[in-house]
Amino acid sequence: MSAFIIRRLLQSVVVVALMSLLVFVGVNVVGDPVHMLVSPEAPQEEIERIIRNLGLDRPVHEQYLFFVKNALNGDLGRSFVFGEPALKLIIQRMPATFELAFAALLMAIVFGIPLGIYAGIYPDRVSSKLIMSGSILGFSLPTFWVGLMMIMVFAVMLGWLPSTGRGETVSLLGLKVSFLTIDGLRHILMPALNLALLKISLVIRLSRAGAREAMHLDYVKFARAKGLRESRVVMVHVMKNIMIPVVTVLGLEFGSLIAFSVVTETVFAWPGMGKLIIDALHNLDRPVIVAYLMIIVLVFVIINLMVDILYSILDPRVRIKDAGR
């Protein structure tokens, strides 16, 4: 097990290093941030002074090595626009995005798995067919449109829920969170559901397929032949086997929940990282873009690692194989 984790950690380091190179080069060939920062009327000397200050006069590979050296010390550069460390800007907004993503993940599990299993066990019922049609809608409707519709119905027409912001926040372990106050919960409900819709549909489909397959397998029949109650057959024997693919996919999807919360955050004016990156892209604020992408890479790598570990807990066959290596 530990050999397995060490091997995975080394792989992760290589991935992060490669990504830093790609991201840095990629961002540096796009546009000219100086034009965005300096007014067109500024004298030539002023422009050159700014270029020197930002370190943009040096060749790209030198800039990269400089960036790596600083990055290893935890410094991902200063925002061109705000003049503050890029990392700090991102970290400030991180809790909001993570909170949103976790809420969406929770919804995906709480709604997706039971609905999917139900549809898998009773595939011929009308309710199952409704669930499956709903999941197709969840897949195919664009997130931003659903978000706007939700705002229109629940915020504008019915006036039940607020449409923007995080609402009242409380400090929990030094982080500001919304979910501990009623007002915060009212604020997070719509954006989280909006972000979760696609994942709920995905989990429904996965759980249904898993349940349909498992219901006809011998071990489920044997569990029934042992005289187990149907609830135990489904909740333990079927569910534990379904959890393997669901956890794998949800783990990977959690990264994309964070990375692609951009749309939802923009629609609901949720003050998270997604909103920051959109602004940074507008201003060609390179350090913030690079720092954001690096953080996302790190998040993906860490999530993958955690999924692998969780996977081996769920599936004993994986565990044993790795111990033997």
Partner: protein, 332 residues
């Protein structure tokens, strides 16, 4: 534990019919079969694939998958008609008084649950008041009984850490946990090595004799049945074509199908001779031939066979469904 009427056989099946209502038509997988198994008796249920022998097992235990349904007949377990039981009462019986063992040991145990979980839940499903420690001890003893070495450690293993033979022993141990009165074994040794087969057969026989458990052993392998069972029922096309004490049926088969089955088993006294083969194929359950189901493949069929033959008893204790049963002369 004991039957209401003590002389009632453990299981008596009368005219059982299980049909599958598919889009292509009604498949009469089991079509009016009768047999009985007494305390401590072993009955062999023999037939080709698709003859309805597994469906018979699932009908008794009440686990026929849709679109299949028991449409007729009576299943009397210790004198009680199982058709009258509701779902909960039937569940209480399953795995408790009637246990079942499946064909493929690689598939019957849940791969993600430990052996102890899968055993203890079987006990708790029928008596939730059993303390965990007591249940674990019973599970350990059951593993020991079926010949699994160091059962204490093995309890904490996962199914994939066992070989196929060991897994089947675990499945048998699970079936034995609640000391059932009837075990239905659906080809339990088919997927195993011959040596392992022998051990499991020996243990099954021993357990029945010692505990008085009735056993229905479903198989297509006559060699397995020969040394194990007391009685044999031969199924063909959803019906029983021949029934009787094992030695009599194997030595002097009356039905041409049984004769064909026995003739196609390689034997040491027929070395060098061409092996017999029953011509044709088992009929589709959706298109059963008119009259006797075996007629198209039968060498002695004539016009009489166009009408449905009934079960007769030409010799006491021997039942056969044929117009032209062989007189039971020894050998062929």
């Amino acid at each position: 534990m004991t039957a209401p009427g003590t002389d009632a056989p453990t299981l008596e099946v009368r005219g059982l019919a299980t049909h599958f209502f598919t889009k292509a038509g009604v498949a009469k997988a089991v079509d009016g079969i009768s047999f009985s198994v007494g305390k401590g008796e072993i009955m062999g249920l023999v037939g080709e694939s698709g003859s309805g022998k597994s469906v018979t097992g699932f009908s008794i235990i009440g686990l026929v998958d849709p679109p299949g349904r028991v449409v007729g007949g009576e299943i009397l377990f210790q004198g009680q008609n199982l058709a009258n039981l509701d779902g909960e009462a039937m569940r209480q019986l399953r795995g408790n008084r009637i246990a079942m063992i499946f064909q493929d040991p690689m598939m019957t145990l849940n791969p993600v649950l430990r052996i102890d979980t899968q055993m203890v839940e079987t006990i708790h499903a029928h008596d939730s008041s059993v303390p965990q420690q007591v249940a674990l001890a019973r599970a350990r003893d059951a593993l020991g009984e079926v010949g699994i070495p160091s059962p204490d450690e093995r309890l904490r293993s996962y199914p994939h850490q066992f070989s196929g033979g060991m897994r089947q022993r675990v499945a048998i141990a699970i079936a034995l946990l609640n000391k059932p009165d009837l075990i239905i074994a659906d080809e339990p040794t088919t997927a195993l090595d011959v040596t392992i087969q022998g051990q499991i057969l020996y243990q099954a026989q021993k357990l029945c004799r010692e505990t008085g458990t009735a056993l229905i052993w479903i198989t297509h392998d006559l060699a397995v049945i020969a040394g194990l069972a007391d009685h044999i029922s031969v199924m063909y096309g959803g019906r029983i074509v021949e029934q009787g004490p094992i030695a009599d049926v194997l030595d002097r088969p009356m039905h041409p199908y049984t004769q064909g089955l026995l003739g196609s088993v390689p034997g040491h006294n027929r070395r060098g001779q061409k092996l017999f083969q029953i011509p044709g194929m088992a009929p589709s359950l959706l298109q059963m031939p008119e009259g006797c189901a075996f007629r198209p493949r039968c060498q002695i069929a004539d016009d009489a066979c166009l009408a449905e033959p009934l079960i007769t008893e030409p010799v006491a204790g021997r039942h056969v469904r044929c117009y032209h049963p062989s007189d039971g002369g020894a050998g062929r």
